[in-house]
Structures are given as structure tokens and as C-alpha cells.
């Protein structure tokens, strides 16, 4: 068993009478792609908020690389190597794609109290940015303003910005959101290439993508993790079927399809 990179212990968050995170515990070993799925309102957003530091938990611990990060602010976690992408594209619309990526490099290249030298002429910032853009097929769009990129390109840039800092843990918040089937399958291919070299937590509604990519899957329902296991175990778990009542038919269909043409 590989080293555990991220360990979440009894994480709890209440909003008034609603327990959005109910003693959530799970561990992600180095190199794993761990998917978290769950119906709407299951508490996925609250969980991400706590992992990234935007929401303070009421109880429990988050340990990242044997270090308790439960109380660290957002930017410190990022500096430790926990990068994220946003569900709703969150970029610098008035800067170019290259500037966006270069800013992410700069965030991890020492302090930025440098007032004189032209940052856009620093190879130390531009080169890694260029490499990340190339990796996600955005090289030709590097000098365009983000406002002028297509939705799919912005989603790719989201991931490029998370990747450019060479994170130890990549947290992808519904990366397929709002994508057409073509764009989705291209992104699945990109993620498949990244997988293995990187530890990834994938939060995603698109179950096709999840079953195609995830090493292990945790199912979140009403703030609790009701099952964790590989794709086959999750598909056949009665509690999961119960929770996904509306999508039960879909899970069954997936299973039949999987038996017909097994996933790689």
C-alpha cells in the first residue's frame, strides 16, 4: 500500500440544523484517482470548501502529507501543493491565457514583492506556463484574452492553471460541467494521461467519466460517505443503488454495458 497523501478524519460541518458533512472520513493514497460522487445536495461543495480551506469545519481533521492542515488558510494549502480547479470557471477574464497560467507559476515562485522588473519578460514564469498550455492543447490560444476563449477552452485552462504549479494533490471540482460530449471525452483523455503521475480527487456528476477514470470511488449522501470502493463494488452496492433511486436504471445499464465491453 502506497503512502497516504490525504487523510480526512471525522470531518463535520453544520449549517443551522443541516449537517452538510457528517463525520466524513476517507484516505487517498499517493497516485490514486479518487472520485467522489453523490446526488445533488449530498454535501460535495461543502466538502471541497473544507478541503481547500474556504470553509472552516466544526470538527474533525484534514491531514495532508502527515501535516494537519485543518486550520491553514487557502493560500497556504495551495503553497503546500494542494491545487484545485473550479466547477464554475474561475479565471482572470481580462488577462491572456498565458498570463493566467504564468500567475499560477508566480504564486509558487517565492514572494511577489518585486516592483520593478517586467513580469511578462521573465522566462522562469513564462516557460512553465507555456508548457502547461501546450499540455492541454492551448498553445495556439496563449495570447488570447480569457474572455475570448470558448467554454471548453476555459475548462482546459482551469486545469492548466492547477497543473502548472506541479501540485501533489489535484482537486477537480466537476471539470466536465457544461461540456458537450466531444469536449468531455477529450477531457477524459487528458485526465487519463495525467493519472498515475498525480494524485487526484475528482468530484463529478458525469458517471461515465467517473467509472472510466477512478481507481476508487466514495459515494456521498446527506453528508455521509455510504460506500467506498472500486467501480464494480460501487455499482453493485445496495446502499448506493438505494441512494441513486432515480439513477438506478442508469447504474444497471452501466453494469450491463460493462459486462458486454469491459472497461480497461
Amino acid at each position: 500500500m502506497a503512502d497516504v497523501l490525504l487523510e480526512v478524519e471525522a470531518l463535520t460541518k453544520r449549517f443551522g440544523g443541516v449537517t452538510a458533512s457528517d463525520a466524513i472520513s476517507f484516505a487517498v493514497p499517493t497516485g490514486e484517482l479518487h472520485a467522489i460522487i453523490g446526488p445533488n445536495g449530498a454535501g460535495k461543495t461543502t466538502l471541497i470548501g473544507q478541503l481547500t480551506g474556504e470553509i472552516a469545519p466544526d470538527g474533525g481533521r484534514i491531514v495532508f502529507d502527515r501535516r494537519d492542515i485543518t486550520m491553514l488558510p487557502v493560500y497556504r494549502r495551495s503553497q503546500l501543493g494542494l491545487a484545485r480547479s473550479f466547477q464554475i470557471t474561475s479565471l482572470f477574464a481580462d488577462l491572456t491565457a498565458r498570463d493566467n497560467a504564468a500567475l499560477a507559476v508566480q504564486a509558487h515562485a517565492g514572494h511577489s514583492f518585486r516592483f520593478w522588473r517586467d513580469a511578462r519578460s521573465e522566462p522562469a514564469l513564462r516557460r512553465p506556463a507555456q508548457a502547461a498550455l501546450e499540455r492541454l492543447g492551448l498553445a495556439a490560444r496563449a495570447d488570447m484574452l480569457v474572455a475570448d476563449l470558448s467554454h471548453g477552452e476555459r475548462r482546459q485552462l482551469e486545469i492548466a492553471m492547477a497543473l502548472v504549479t506541479e501540485p501533489r494533490l489535484l482537486l477537480l471540482d466537476e471539470p466536465m460541467a457544461g461540456m458537450g460530449p466531444d469536449e468531455s471525452s477529450r477531457l477524459v483523455e487528458t485526465l487519463r494521461r495525467l493519472k498515475g503521475g498525480l494524485t487526484i480527487i475528482l468530484i463529478e456528476h458525469d458517471l461515465d467519466a467517473v467509472f472510466a477514470l477512478a481507481d476508487r470511488i466514495s459515494v456521498l449522501v446527506y453528508g455521509r460517505i455510504i460506500a467506498t470502493g472500486d467501480a464494480a463494488a460501487i455499482k453493485s452496492d445496495p446502499a448506493v443503488r438505494q441512494a441513486y433511486l432515480g439513477e438506478q436504471a442508469y447504474l444497471g445499464e452501466q453494469e450491463r454495458a460493462a459486462q458486454g465491453t469491459p472497461h480497461g
Partner: protein, 323 residues
């Protein structure tokens, strides 16, 4: 020195550069014109343009590039002015003491106000900066020893030990112009440096900035302090220009004027505040000769700029879209 590549700016020497260069030539020739025609009022007016352009430039740094809409920026004109006035009254006439004091006290004020206000955003930030500026305004009114409400006449301009005589209006004019140009160059370097990109990123999307690992608060605070320090210098110049200080220098309507200048000129441009200050003050001057209510014309004009010209007057001459 080479210009950093900016894909949005297009041509090598376009309309914007032509206008900006023309502007500088005009400013450089004002004393010549005044000497030839004996029009000393032009000197007074343009010295004021330059000093308020410096103030608007500092506001533009935090507001235009940093997205921090301070509604109390004239307070630094007051602080800088009072630093000069109070020291002069107490017998310390050296500019080498007065001006650094004006800058340092302004920076300190910015540090305190910034530390308290920059945790808020939007309308709350506007209200806190306004509230602090009003406090400073009433403190100045309470300074009986220094004229209280009536203000204080400065009998001797800052002295620089024979280096430069500020009583010479032409020399003072060129000193103000040189300082404005130096600070414009500094701000231009600043907004294109690593620091500047952090500030602009925080304006564009602060949440994302934190997510990629920037502690944005401390960068915004330092930017706020730099802007305050620059405007404190403008205050020291203004006190020397008018030979007079009063609480009215930091009245909230003056802060409003500075915002108007910055918006009018174009907030994403280094020359914007200069264009804005010049347009605002010259129009105000021209209109008050023909009407008692210049605001009746200035107001709708500003409305037009705010609604139709996203990049202010600079956007008119620059073409192309800018943030």
C-alpha cells in the same frame, strides 16, 4: 528600454502614443507660453492640473489596477498638506524634513486604514474609507492652533537649502512635472511587475488568486500604502502651490473629484489620470466662466463617459478592448 509586449496594443506608434506625447509637449511648454504672454494664471492652473493628476494617479493605482474603490483619497492631500503646514508653523522649514514627513504620515495612515478596511469589499470598503477620511477632516477642524476650520496660511514654502527655490513658479512647475513623470514611470513599472500582476489578478478574481496560492491581503495592503504615500507627496506639493492648507482639502467632495478624474481619464491606463485631471480642471475652469453651475454640464458628461466609454477618454484614443 523596451516596452513589454502587449498583444492588445497593436501598432508601434498609434493614436494613443501621439496624444500622450502631444500632452507632454503641451505641459512642457506651458511656462514658455506664460512667459511670452504674461498669462500667469495659466501657470497656476496647470500646476494644479499636474498636482491633482499625481493624486488621481495614486488613486488609479488602487482603484483602476487594484479594484479598491477608496472614497477617501483626498485625505492624503490633507495629510501631506498639513505635514508641510504644521512643520512650517513650528519653524521647521526644510523640505527635506517636510516632504518625507508628508509621505511617511500618509503611508502610516494608509497602513492603519488599509489593515482595517481591506478585509471588506465593495460598498463596505467604500464606506470605511469615507468614514476614516471624514474623521480626519473633523480632526483638522479641531486643530485650533493650526487654524481650525479657517485653515492656515503658509508663509514660507519648503526650502531645499539652495538646491531649488520653490518661490520661483517656473522651477516649481517643472519640479511638479518631473515628479509626476517619475511617478508615472514608477507606476508603469509597478503594474507590469510581479507585484502589479498580483494586484491586477486580485481585482479580476481574488478567490482564484488565493486558490493558486497568493496571500492577497498583504499585497493589496502594500499597494494601498504605496498609493497613500504618493498622494501624500501630492498634498505636500499642493500646500506649497496654494501657500495655504485647510480641512476643505480633504472634504469628501474632493475625494469624489479624484474619482471623477480617474474614471474620466481611463482607469486601466497610466496616462488616464493625467488626461482626466486636465479635462476635469480645464472644463471646470472654462465652464465657470460662462455659467454659475459648471456641474450641470460636467455631471452629464461624466455620466456619458461612465456609460459609453468603458476605458474612459483613454479608451477613445486607444481603440481595442481593455479590461
Amino acid at each position: 528600454m523596451t516596452r513589454p509586449p502587449d498583444p492588445r496594443r497593436g501598432g508601434a506608434f498609434g493614436l494613443r502614443q501621439t496624444v500622450n506625447t502631444g500632452l507632454l509637449v503641451v505641459l512642457a511648454l506651458v511656462p514658455v507660453y506664460a512667459a511670452l504672454t504674461g498669462d500667469s494664471f495659466a501657470m497656476t492652473l496647470f500646476t494644479r492640473v499636474i498636482i491633482l493628476a499625481l493624486a488621481a494617479l495614486s488613486l488609479n493605482l488602487i482603484m483602476g489596477f487594484g479594484g479598491m474603490v477608496s472614497f477617501g483619497h483626498a485625505v492624503y492631500l490633507g495629510i501631506g498638506g498639513y505635514a508641510v503646514g504644521i512643520l512650517a508653523k513650528e519653524g521647521i522649514g526644510s523640505g527635506f524634513v517636510q516632504w518625507p514627513a508628508a509621505i511617511a504620515v500618509s503611508a502610516l495612515y494608509a497602513l492603519i486604514v488599509g489593515a482595517l478596511s481591506l478585509r471588506t469589499r465593495g460598498v463596505y470598503f467604500i464606506m470605511i474609507t469615507l468614514a476614516f477620511a471624514q474623521m480626519a477632516y473633523y480632526v483638522a477642524i479641531g486643530l485650533d492652533r493650526y487654524g481650525g476650520d479657517d485653515g492656515l496660511t503658509i508663509y514660507r514654502r519648503s526650502s531645499f537649502g539652495g538646491l531649488i527655490d520653490l518661490n520661483n513658479k517656473t522651477l516649481f512647475y517643472y519640479l511638479c512635472l518631473a515628479l509626476l513623470l517619475a511617478v508615472m514611470y514608477f507606476v508603469w513599472r509597478l503594474v507590469n511587475s510581479r507585484f502589479g500582476l498580483v494586484i491586477r489578478g486580485a481585482r479580476s478574481n481574488e478567490r482564484r488568486m488565493r486558490a493558486i496560492g497568493f496571500p492577497t491581503f498583504r499585497y493589496k495592503l502594500v499597494c494601498f500604502v504605496i498609493a497613500g504615500a504618493i498622494c501624500g507627496l501630492a498634498g505636500a506639493l499642493l500646500a506649497n502651490h496654494t501657500d495655504f492648507i485647510s480641512p476643505a482639502m480633504m472634504h469628501w467632495t474632493r475625494s469624489g473629484d479624484l474619482i471623477v478624474m480617474a474614471v474620466l481619464g481611463g482607469m486601466q491606463a497610466i496616462f488616464g489620470p493625467l488626461i482626466g485631471a486636465m479635462t476635469f480642471l480645464l472644463l471646470d475652469e472654462a465652464l465657470s466662466r460662462v455659467t454659475e453651475f459648471p456641474d450641470l454640464i460636467l455631471g452629464p458628461m461624466l455620466l456619458f463617459v461612465a456609460i459609453y466609454l468603458n476605458g474612459g477618454l483613454d479608451g477613445l484614443i486607444g481603440g481595442g478592448r481593455r479590461g
